[in-house]
């Protein structure tokens, strides 16, 4: 909804930068962006702060984001990754089913747009893979997920179940963890 405002702001920002003025910066900070765009940009930036076990992705020809639904977050992510490379591999968006052969090779699995039962299927299959599981609600990180992009009133905040992230062989950068809320399991399987 606020995209055009951002666009106008971005234009001002570019102009101001050219003039060497920084007066527009506070204005930029005020401009609000729809939640789905913020979530998509989070997803897009995650690989900069997450380490995957090298061995698991050896021989992969692409860097895969896996999704289960094509909603606005996913579509925004699709435009963000267009023409992008990670670890020298082209970034790809892939729609997957809850099957081991589908989930193999996924770096990030974004679970939005499905019900809780289906989501559990994905988590069960993904539990043995080094895949970063992400959803939008806080409950997710307490019940088997690794990370959630939770709306806290007027911000989107990361919730991370660090124990689970580590258990599945992933590493996270301290800068990311500093901004996140660290959550523990409720039901230890």
């Amino acid at each position: 909804m606020m995209k055009r405002v951002i666009r106008a702001m971005a234009r001002h920002l570019a102009g101001a930068a050219r003039l060497g003025a920084c007066l527009w910066l506070p204005v930029m900070a005020l401009a609000a962006v729809p939640d789905y765009q913020i979530r998509a940009v989070y997803l897009f930036n995650l690989p900069n702060f997450v380490g995957w076990p090298e061995a698991a992705f050896k021989g992969m020809s692409s860097f895969d984001y896996c999704i289960v639904h094509r909603g606005r977050v996913e579509k925004t992510l699709a435009s963000l990754i267009e023409g992008e490379f990670r670890e020298g591999r082209p970034v790809r968006l892939r729609q997957v089913a809850a099957r081991p052969d589908d989930l193999r090779g996924c770096r990030v699995l974004y679970l939005r747009g499905i019900d809780l039962l289906e989501r559990r299927d994905y988590l069960r299959v993904g539990a043995s893979l080094p895949v970063l599981t992400v959803a939008d609600d806080a409950d997710f990180v307490r019940h088997g997920g690794m990370m959630a992009l939770v709306r806290e009133r007027r911000r989107i905040r990361m919730y991370i179940n660090l124990a689970r992230v580590r258990r599945q062989g992933l590493k996270m950068n301290a800068r990311l963890l500093q901004l996140a809320r660290i959550i523990d399991d409720v039901d230890l399987e």
């Binding site: 951002i6 106008a8 102009g15 007066l23 729809p34 939008d136 901004l179």
Partner: protein
């Protein structure tokens, strides 16, 4: 309410977001956006969006002027306070096939199903965008979304923090002052209040005489947006206005036929709207909206009050389906006065209601195809139930191209006027050689008048070529049935020997068609250049079924041009200085009373960002012509004034 559109970010702007640091992202406020939003590329309809930037850069000073950049829309000024605006034909002062919403509130008058465009004003810099959908939108928006829907959307209060003031003065006697103040309201809410005062001196009539269409306008409003909790958001909006407008019109004088008179009217109104949106953790969203609206128009001695309640629920996506359900209830109470031998609406006061249910399912067939099925069932007290379904198919052959097809049915329900009106529509004066007595033609509405129906077939294609060009083409064929006709009724000789009344009765005996094509091109060859082209072609026709008394079709009295063209060129000379040139062509319009010649118009708008927060702009309108007419009020009463060449200066100041 309905399903709003979200604008897709161009690649350049997306990269701005991409470049944000994680810390900036964590601090980025989330806008209160509806989940019902879909990306523009995903709309299987002819959509055009006017952005805040377009409004500012083109030097638009009135909402109606902004609409001139939309392909397929005909915008014509009759006098400074009266407009004829329609999409895809059927234009006229009383154009009745367009639905106009201001922040979710319907602004069309239930008296004639049209819009008092001059009353539609706000703090212009706070308009975020205007979404224009040509073609029927009835399956979501309901009756009267026949030929198009215009959604005027103002910014959320969280985006208008700080003060802003505008001062504008023009050589045609325009003067406008406006002020807005926005601030936080507690930790989770923001508000703004605004005030605007403006005046306009009278213009010249086609004959060169004083048009007496001067006006004074005072209005103000507020908006509050807040989060009640992590999942509930609330928007409150209100506005209040009073206008004094002058008008030259023709009145019937039974001894001399038409006689000119100059009058001043006072129109005022107030509205209050509340909207509560809740997001559920499974992705569902519900919206509840309630508004109250009170308007008074002195010209027709009318007052109507509206209470409207709308509810919609968007289900979480399930498999291939995204289902939305909703319903609404609207209650209207009106009082209408009477001007003897000019017009009279019967009964003088009435209360009536309208309720509706809608369902829409967006079905993702596979990665490239999606199908949208929608239906709205609406009941009104005048013509009963109306079923308005639509089927829309969208195909993305590549991620940057989309092709869509749609078939939809829409109804234009009878308005208060059509159920019982007596209005003098024409008269031959006694001086006419063939007649020794004046003959007055009276249009007479009657109960039993039914809805007008449209079956629309549309197709469109969109293509984003890199980051520098986007193309949008739409084709349509509209079949209209049950259109309003006028048939010869009784002869009333009771006033003889003074005059004779010939009745003309409203009926549904006309049918018609409209077909056409519309093109929009947006070209950004370099960061400092932008070109926007709109072109449209339209062909319409109507006929009346035979049998019964002789009859003739009556659209709304006026015609629409068959060809229109608009080209805007924007250039930034530097970060602070930019120029917008806007060239338009509007084809000839044949109105029953007058043929309006085709015209070209050129506007130039120069904008200088003197320093952060201070903007100066200068504009010249109608550079090519000293004066030209844009339209006439074919039904006879308002005497048109010409659109003059005019220059104005504006100062815009923002401070924290």
């Amino acid at each position: 309410m309905g399903l709003l559109l979200a604008l897709p970010l161009a690649a350049r702007e997306l990269s701005e977001l991409k470049a944000l640091s994680l810390e900036a992202l964590a601090n980025m406020p989330v806008s209160i956006a509806s989940h019902g939003e879909r990306a523009l590329d995903d709309a299987a309809a002819a959509v055009f969006v006017i952005t805040a930037e377009d409004i500012r850069r083109a030097g638009v000073t009135h909402v109606a002027d902004a609409l001139r950049m939309v392909p397929g829309l005909n915008v014509a000024r009759i006098d400074a306070n009266t407009w004829a605006i329609s999409a895809r034909g059927f234009n006229g002062r009383y154009a009745n096939k367009l639905l106009v919403l201001m922040d979710g509130r319907s602004v069309y008058s239930p008296l004639f199903s049209g819009v008092y465009w001059d009353e539609l004003d706000t703090f212009l810099d706070d308009i975020e965008r205007i979404e224009v959908i040509r073609g029927p939108g009835a399956s979501v928006w309901g009756a009267n979304a026949v030929n198009g829907v215009i959604n005027i959307i103002t910014r959320s209060a969280q985006d208008t923090i700080g003060q802003a003031a505008n001062l504008m003065a023009g050589d045609d006697g325009r003067l406008a002052l406006s002020f807005r103040h926005g601030a936080a309201f507690g930790p989770d809410a923001d508000y703004r209040v605004w005030l605007k005062a403006s005046r306009q001196e009278a213009g010249e009539r086609l004959s060169g005489e004083n048009g007496r269409d001067d006006s004074e306008d005072l209005r103000g409003g507020f908006r509050l947006d807040g989060m009640l909790s992590g999942r509930d958001s609330l928007t409150l909006l209100g506005d209040l206005y009073r206008r004094h407008v002058g008008q030259s019109s023709q009145r019937l004088d039974l001894l001399h036929g038409r006689r000119e008179s100059a009058d001043h009217y006072r129109n005022d109104g107030a509205s209050l709207l509340g909207r509560w949106t809740r997001e559920y953790s499974d992705g569902a969203e519900s919206t509840l909206q309630l508004y109250y609206d009170d308007q008074r128009h002195e010209e027709v001695l009318e007052r109507h009050r509206t209470v409207d309640l709308d509810f919609s629920y968007l289900f979480p996506p399930r498999g291939r389906h995204e289902l939305a359900l909703g319903g609404g209830y609207r209650w209207i109470a009106d009082q209408v006065g009477r001007r003897p031998l000019f017009f009279e609406i019967l009964p003088a006061s009435r209360r009536y209601a309208l309720y509706s249910l809608f369902a829409q399912d967006v079905i993702t067939l596979d990665e490239r195809w999606s199908l949208t099925l929608g239906v709205k069932l609406e009941h009104n007290d005048f013509s009963g139930f109306e079923l308005q379904p639509s089927v829309r198919l969208l195909w993305h052959p590549t991620s940057r191209q989309s092709l869509w097809l749609s078939v939809a049915r829409a109804a234009r329900t009878p308005n208060r006027g059509e159920l019982g009106v007596r209005g003098s529509i024409d008269a031959f004066p006694a001086s006419l050689p063939s007649s020794s007595r004046p003959v007055v033609f009276e249009g007479v509405g009657r109960p039993g008048f039914r809805s007008e129906h449209l079956l629309a077939f549309e197709a469109g294609y969109r293509w984003r070529v890199g980051d520098y060009l986007s193309l949008d083409i739409a084709f349509f064929h509209n079949e209209y049935d049950d259109l309003r006709s006028l048939e010869v009724g009784d002869v009333d000789a009771s006033h003889l020997p003074d005059f004779l009344i010939l009745e003309s009765l409203f009926g549904n005996r006309a049918s018609g068609y409209a077909r056409g094509a519309e093109l929009a091109l947006d070209w950004r060859p370099a960061a400092a250049w932008r070109g926007q082209l709109a072109w449209s072609w339209l062909e319409t026709g109507s006929s009346v079924s035979s049998g019964g008394n002789p009859a003739y079709p009556t659209g709304n009295g006026g015609g629409s041009p068959s060809t229109q063209f608009s080209l805007r060129l924007d250039h930034d000379f530097s970060a602070a200085l930019s120029l917008d040139l806007w060239l338009r062509y509007v084809g000839r319009v044949r109105n029953p009373d007058q043929v309006i010649p085709a015209y070209w118009s050129l506007n130039a708008h120069l904008e200088w960002q003197a320093r952060p927060g201070l903007r100066l702009s200068a504009s010249v309108e109608n550079l090519l012509d000293p004066v030209h007419p844009e339209y006439s009020d074919a039904l006879g009463s308002v005497l048109a004034t010409e659109a003059p060449r005019a220059a104005w200066l504006k100062l815009h100041w923002e401070w924290p």
